[in-house]
Symmetry: C2
Subunit: 172 residues, 2 copies
């Protein structure tokens, strides 16, 4: 295959990645107040034991909370919680006492960790931080999954699109 590739700025190459999976990450402060952040940079990093990595920008309040608490819950949000995802993705827990309460995002106590499970998500993974790596302008947390939960309802996962919107996808 003959191929012409254009050398471009890195951001211009990243811009063709969409649609892209997003996840919600819940954490909790020392007083037990939960917080949720929406991120696009997350992946599984081990099957046995099951482990998940998530990269969180240093300035984010969740970065401080997870560093302090050593636990997080990672969830796959569905179309049922678009408004909650948009709210939590564009407001900081530093400025709002309880983001989940403020936007009405339901939560359920986790089985093994302090941060809560999030409603309206296809799956929730309870994670204990095993490692943290400083990766440029983000901290990458490596969590071992200690419990997992699935939503019995049939839900569509949320993806982010190149225009910044969120929505479901289907096989073309």
């Amino acid at each position: 295959m003959e191929e012409k590739l254009e050398k471009v700025q890195v951001e211009d190459a990243f811009a063709v990645k969409y649609p892209s999976e997003i996840v919600a990450v819940s954490s909790v402060d020392s007083g037990g107040i939960p917080n949720a952040l929406i991120v696009g940079w997350s992946m599984t990093v081990s099957g046995r034991p099951p482990m998940i990595a998530v990269a969180i920008g240093h300035p984010n309040y969740s970065c401080k909370l997870i560093r302090e608490c050593g636990e997080f819950v990672l969830a796959y949000p569905s179309t049922k919680v678009v408004k909650e995802v948009e709210f939590c993705g564009s407001n900081s827990g530093r400025d709002i006492e309880d983001k989940l309460a403020e936007c009405g995002w339901g939560s359920v106590p986790a089985a093994e960790v302090s941060p809560p499970l999030l409603a309206g998500c296809l799956a929730n993974f309870e994670c204990v931080v095993k490692d943290r790596i400083e990766t440029g302008d983000h901290a990458t947390f490596i969590g071992e999954v200690v419990a997992a939960h699935r939503n019995p309802r049939k839900l569509d996962r949320l993806y982010s699109f190149a225009d910044g919107r969120l929505g479901p996808v289907r096989r073309k």
Copy 2:
């Protein structure tokens, strides 16, 4: 929102993640022969400097090559290279002298690193390994992006589906 969540085996919770983004990772052996692996576990981990993480199973030949060479190229494959992706995702470079040649996957020399850019991909990122973390049954390589390339053709990115097939997606 009232919510009932089912506590399940971790693999059963991971099973609801699809459609999921896949990437190709090229590497090169000490004799200059390239190899390509298809993986689902990859993410950006920093904006400035741009950095990408990719988790590769320890038994994979690519894991050995990247550990030795300290460089890799990560690419977003399109529907134009489904057969090449399927071939490279189901055969090991240990058993085949030159996987890319064997399946006819075109490649282009990179600008800054030894592993090649892959044809039929939306974007290629040249990465230099800055860190490696052992994460359970995988090694997670942290690469700094030293050059990026975009395909001027309009291409559809490949995703993996729950049934194991690969294909494009569109906004639902």
